[in-house]
């Protein structure tokens, strides 16, 4: 992903074009804890207006990576640059352009929702009008207006999660780190967060999201990075990752169980990965469209009536388990 910035000077009409680096650039980032790798050799780049999902099991190093990128912990080697600021040498500058929702977070229970957001804005040294505009927008967008004067201590887990999300966005950050953003939210609230992320991505914000809920990660993220044992084992656009690590499946629905048995017997002679379940035959790893045509042709020739035949893409779940178990 390359970007070009066009600068216009008011006194002379000229346009400069120069290549800018990616918004987040991570190069061989390593952090050790007592001679054990927290993360090692992490490399990836992310541009504007995209979302990257960090996926991995508990203890894989996702939170360590996020903390290192925010400058909460100092990496032992490698480099990470966010919006042109090196997280090792200029962590304070990095923190100005990022927003953060930690996985385990708390709110000041004695403060109201509005005061929590206002206090956060003040700590970012935002001007009063900017602060107020930002808070009003977030309260409205996240449907928190009705509880603006409620103390945080009286809120449910889902509402606290929403307030935490709003707090991560108060400073209008360019990069937002969300650790399990939909944890504890009901499906409607989760959908609200997903929609807001999509909307904010259109405004050019970049999201780095850790999640255990793979279908949600698939909806929220354009890219994924799979982390295992502190190392990056796969990364890229979700569709590319799916193509690379998992082949689609052909699903054939037949009239009855007997037909399915016959079809399976026939297909097993020519294709690997044929499975039956009641009146359905599944052909795993049928990556080419040609396979579907061949299957259809063979079944018609054998007089086995086919009710339906379609190709099913692998889900992120399938890819995740395949890659993690490899």
């Amino acid at each position: 992903m390359s970007h070009y910035v066009v600068c216009r000077l008011s006194f002379v009409k000229c346009v400069y074009k120069f290549k800018v680096k990616e918004l987040i650039e991570i190069n061989d980032l390593t952090k050790m804890y007592d001679n054990v790798h927290g993360i090692h050799g992490i490399d990836f780049e992310i541009g504007d207006g995209v979302s990257l999902g960090l996926l991995g099991r508990n203890g894989a190093g996702k939170t360590t990576l996020v903390r290192a990128l925010i400058g909460l912990i100092k990496p032992d080697s490698g480099s990470a640059v966010i919006n042109g600021f090196n997280v090792i040498t200029r962590p304070d500058s990095v923190r100005k352009v990022v927003g953060y929702l930690p996985e385990v977070f708390g709110l000041y229970n004695d403060m109201t929702v509005y005061d929590i957001l206002d206090y956060t804005g003040r700590l970012y040294c935002m001007r009063k009008t900017d602060r107020s505009d930002s808070i009003e927008y977030l309260l409205d967008r996240l449907e928190l207006s009705d509880i603006r004067n409620m103390k945080a201590g009286a809120l449910s887990k889902g509402l606290r999660q929403k307030v935490g999300f709003a707090r991560a966005l108060v400073n209008d950050p360019q990069v937002v780190f969300l650790d399990e953003p939909t944890s504890g939210l009901d499906p409607i609230a989760s959908r609200g967060i997903e929609n807001l992320i999509a909307e904010l991505k259109n405004d050019g914000k970049t999201f780095l999201i850790t999640s255990h809920i793979l279908p949600e990660a698939e909806k929220m993220c354009d890219y994924v990075a799979l982390i295992k044992g502190g190392g990056l084992i796969a990364s890229g656009r979700i569709s590319d990752i799916k193509k690379k690590y998992s082949e689609p499946t052909v699903i054939i629905r037949l009239q009855d169980e007997a037909s399915a048995g016959l079809a399976a017997k026939l297909l097993k002679t020519m294709l690997p990965g044929v499975e039956t379940s009641e009146s359905t035959v599944t052909v795993l790893g049928a990556g080419l469209d040609k396979t579907m045509l061949t299957v259809n042709k063979k079944l018609v020739e054998a007089n086995i009536p086919v009710l339906e035949i379609h190709r099913q893409e692998a889900s992120l779940d399938d890819v995740y388990f395949r890659v993690m178990e490899a």
Binding site: R67, L72, D92, R95, K96, F105, G106, Y108, R122
Partner: protein, 239 residues
């Protein structure tokens, strides 16, 4: 002083004083240590008379006892600095904000220092108010004694600030409950000093002047140690 530091200070103070339990606890300790100081003073006066000389001599010892109240009060707010943030899981977010280590440390310290000095002023008001009303000895008479004025205006406030610094430095590494142990230690320091002043047969002015001179660099050293040893990574590691 920058805005972010003052915001932290303001938030800490308002959180501390918005708690009704905190206000009642502080009122209780004000009455307890005020009454204890006044009781000791009345005993001395009953034995030696209510002259300005007797009152100032006894105050030199009793003010250190009275200082336990502001230390206790500031201790309560010092505990909020990091252990309470850790307990209510707000620390990680605070550390992720674009604040320097100095801003966070100073913001927390200032809140405790303001609470401590305000507590001390309140205690002085009780003690000096009692003296003025009952013994007709003015504040000017009391402070005309150099040893007492050094004790009241230099040693006690510096000692309170030093103990606050110590609490905040230690509190970034330990739990809220353990931080209260530092508070108790602080009270023992004050009581020890109280006993030392009462029993050592040395010139009061020399002792107080020497102590004041020693406390100033100690406070500065603690401040430097506090800001230098403040470490986001170790705080995060202890979450």
């Amino acid at each position: 002083m920058d805005s972010a530091t003052l915001q932290i200070t303001r938030k800490e103070l308002s959180s501390y004083y918005s708690n009704l339990g905190t206000i009642f606890r502080n009122a209780f300790f004000l009455v307890l240590f005020g009454a204890l100081t006044i009781y000791q003073l009345t005993r001395v006066v009953a034995q030696y008379g209510s002259t300005a000389q007797v009152i100032t001599a006894s105050l030199d010892v009793l003010l250190a006892l009275a200082a336990i109240f502001p230390v206790n009060m500031a201790g309560g707010i010092s505990v909020m600095a990091f252990p309470v943030e850790r307990d209510q899981k707000t620390l990680e977010y605070l550390l992720s904000l674009p604040l320097s280590n100095r801003q966070i440390f100073l913001g927390k310290f200032l809140a405790a220092a303001i609470a401590g000095i305000a507590g001390m002023a309140l205690m002085y008001l009780v003690v000096f108010g009692f003296i003025t009303l009952n013994y007709h000895v003015s504040l000017a008479d009391v402070l005309s004694d150099e040893a007492v004025s050094i004790m009241a205006l230099a040693i006690c406030p510096t000692l309170v600030i030093m103990l606050i610094l110590l609490t905040i430095i230690v509190s970034s590494h330990i739990s809220a409950r353990e931080t209260y142990i530092v508070n108790i230690f602080s009270v023992f320091v004050l009581m020890g000093m109280n006993i030392a002043v009462a029993t050592l047969n040395i010139d009061r002015l020399e002792f107080n002047a020497g102590l004041a001179v020693l406390l100033v660099p100690a406070v500065l050293a603690l401040y430097v140690i506090g800001t230098r040893t403040f470490n986001r990574e170790s705080l995060i590691k202890n979450l």
